[in-house]
């Protein structure tokens, strides 16, 4: 597991047209890695994430994505993701194809992918229109034991999964603490796994059942303090709820959004410079 600068990790392992899952459920969202993908001008990505959040709003608005697989596309507690809406409603800056699931289905699809299954199964109940939209990926099958109907979702195996985590030890093992979301399943489903971490330590000091990704499952890691900001890293810094509220105004308008991205993402060399420019790091 090589330790690489983030610029090199993205340049080497994320390619135009890849399916990419930046996971982390509200917590540990890999913003620094997403911004580096924008800086390196990746195109035609198939973005996968349960909750696209601000980082996919930014990637979509900057024209990095051709397809989005997701299960809830809003700004949590605030409202819309305006760039996602603009892409779906008005094809700006380009059309965005959607593959849409519920949370339970998408979590199951990652789990199936992580298990070497072609699909995941859950009980089938009241149909919703999600099963009937063009391109819907849900199917109904029969349980071979009870003959009851089951809903099948296809496995998801991203070409790259990118996570942010708290710590990496000197052997390259990675610790995730707090809300873990579907991070483990998304990582184990992927062909390549990139990780950014808050810090490198001698020993993780993890509890026996803690979520530790062994070094040999990880393709490359980068040390990026603050790499989840404006989401958060439990034990390091809290979620910047004020930024999530402020994003609503920034993203509402194409020009305001583009100006913000040019100044704060394209106009800085790395995440540390962004954090300093926003006044959250000295």
């Amino acid at each position: 597991m090589p330790l690489l600068p983030l610029t090199e990790a993205i340049a080497t392992h994320v390619h135009d047209g890849d399916s990419v899952a930046l996971e982390g459920f509200t917590h540990l969202i890999p913003f620094a890695a997403g911004h580096e993908i924008i800086r390196q001008r990746r195109r035609n990505l198939h973005l996968i994430r349960m909750t696209p959040d601000l980082i996919y709003d930014q990637l979509i608005g900057m024209g990095s994505a051709a397809r989005l697989t997701f299960s809830w596309g809003g700004n949590p507690g605030v409202g819309s993701l305006h760039r996602l809406r603009d892409a779906v409603e008005r094809q700006w800056p380009q059309p965005l194809a959607l593959t849409e699931f519920s949370h339970a289905e998408l979590a199951l699809a990652y789990q199936a992918g992580a298990s070497g299954m072609s699909c995941g199964l859950m009980p089938h109940h009241a149909d919703t229109d999600l099963a009937r939209v063009p391109g819907a990926m849900l199917r109904t099958v029969r349980c071979p034991f009870t003959d009851r109907p089951l809903a099948a979702v296809p496995a998801i195996n991203p070409e790259v999964t990118i996570l942010h985590a708290q710590q990496i030890d000197t052997q390259g093992n990675v610790l995730i603490r707090g809300i873990v979301g579907a991070a483990k399943e998304a990582a184990l489903a992927a062909r390549r796994v990139l990780v950014t971490v808050e810090e490198r330590v001698e020993r993780l000091g993890a509890d026996m059942n803690a979520l530790v990704l062994p070094s040999w499952l990880i393709t490359a890691a980068s040390i990026v303090p603050g790499g989840a900001y404006p989401s958060y890293a439990q034990g390091y810094y809290p979620r910047d709820n004020r930024f999530y509220l402020a994003w609503d105004q920034i993203a509402r308008d194409r020009e305001a959004f583009t100006a913000w991205m040019e100044r704060h993402v394209l106009g800085v060399p790395d995440h540390a410079a962004l954090l300093r420019a926003l006044g959250v790091a000295a």
């Binding site: 299960s71 596309g73 519920s102 809300i179 979620r239």
Partner: protein, 265 residues
């Protein structure tokens, strides 16, 4: 009529909180549901078990989270489980008593739309989508819906069915095999609607003080049925309002704290 001394959001939140029995296991959504659940926990239901879909089980936040995954929820949880588990082992397995939902549209059978306004392929408004809602609607033993009532949100026909209520009524939900009982109450800024026991169409069952039946009818996009007896709900108790306002003040103060990140590693 003089101002009632509480806002529509406050009486909705207090009314929703009163629907929660102590000890119940609640799957909580963000916004008014989260405020209602925590108000109940801080007043009459100290043993309420709150589950947020981020996998935080038995959480006891001191301030209301902005998102379903704020650190406050993790720090005060009994247990934090991965997402596939919260949906499979807790919700799908039938371990949730009450699910709380809101939506952009509701129809007369309590079916909900949180996906699109307009056509799915060419939507007028792209909404966030299902998230946890469709499975909450299916598996929670009962569902409480909280929504502001307007003719645009209480519609004769949904643009998209995201979460199943009673489907077409008259037992259609039970016939579909859904394990949960469906929406038992729809709490609005006018009062409470409940499903008719046989035909399962929502009917006006309770009103807040000073609200007329005609006002609720005018805010509903279909000819609203009215129960034979309409209950008048009490105004919020001053003690409940004090707890709620204190919780919201603590939340505002916490969310206004500037973030500092140490880059020296």
């Amino acid at each position: 009529m003089s101002a009632p001394g509480y806002t529509p959001d406050e009486i909705m939140t207090v009314t929703a909180a009163r629907h929660l029995k102590d000890g119940a296991v609640c799957f909580v959504g963000i916004g008014l549901p989260s405020a209602a659940c925590n108000l109940a926990r801080l007043t009459h239901a100290p043993h309420l078990v709150l589950i947020y879909e981020s996998g935080t089980v038995g959480t006891k936040p001191a301030v209301l989270p902005l998102s379903i995954g704020d650190g406050e929820l993790a720090e005060t949880a009994t247990s934090i489980v991965p997402l596939p588990e919260i949906f499979a082992h807790y919700l799908q397995r039938g371990r949730v008593d009450v699910g709380f939902l809101g939506a952009a549209q509701i129809d007369r059978y309590g079916n909900l739309n949180s996906t699109v306004i307009g056509d799915y392929a060419h939507p007028k408004v792209r909404l966030p989508g299902a998230g946890g809602a469709s499975e909450i609607a299916t598996y929670a033993r009962e569902v409480l819906v909280i929504m502001k009532q307007t003719p645009r949100s209480f519609v004769p026909r949904l643009d998209f069915l995201t979460s199943a209520g009673y489907l077409t009524g008259c037992g259609a939900r039970a016939a579909s095999g859904s394990p949960g009982a469906g929406p038992r109450a729809v709490i609005t800024d006018f009062g409470v609607l409940r499903p008719h026991p046989q035909i399962e169409e929502l009917e006006l069952a309770a009103l807040y003080p000073g609200i007329s039946v005609d006002a609720v009818r005018a805010a509903t996009g279909w000819p609203l049925r009215v129960a034979s007896h309409i209950e008048t709900l009490p105004a919020p108790e001053p003690a409940d309002l004090a707890v709620l306002r204190d919780l919201e003040a603590r939340t505002r103060a916490a969310h206004a704290q500037p973030i500092r990140i140490n880059l020296r590693n």
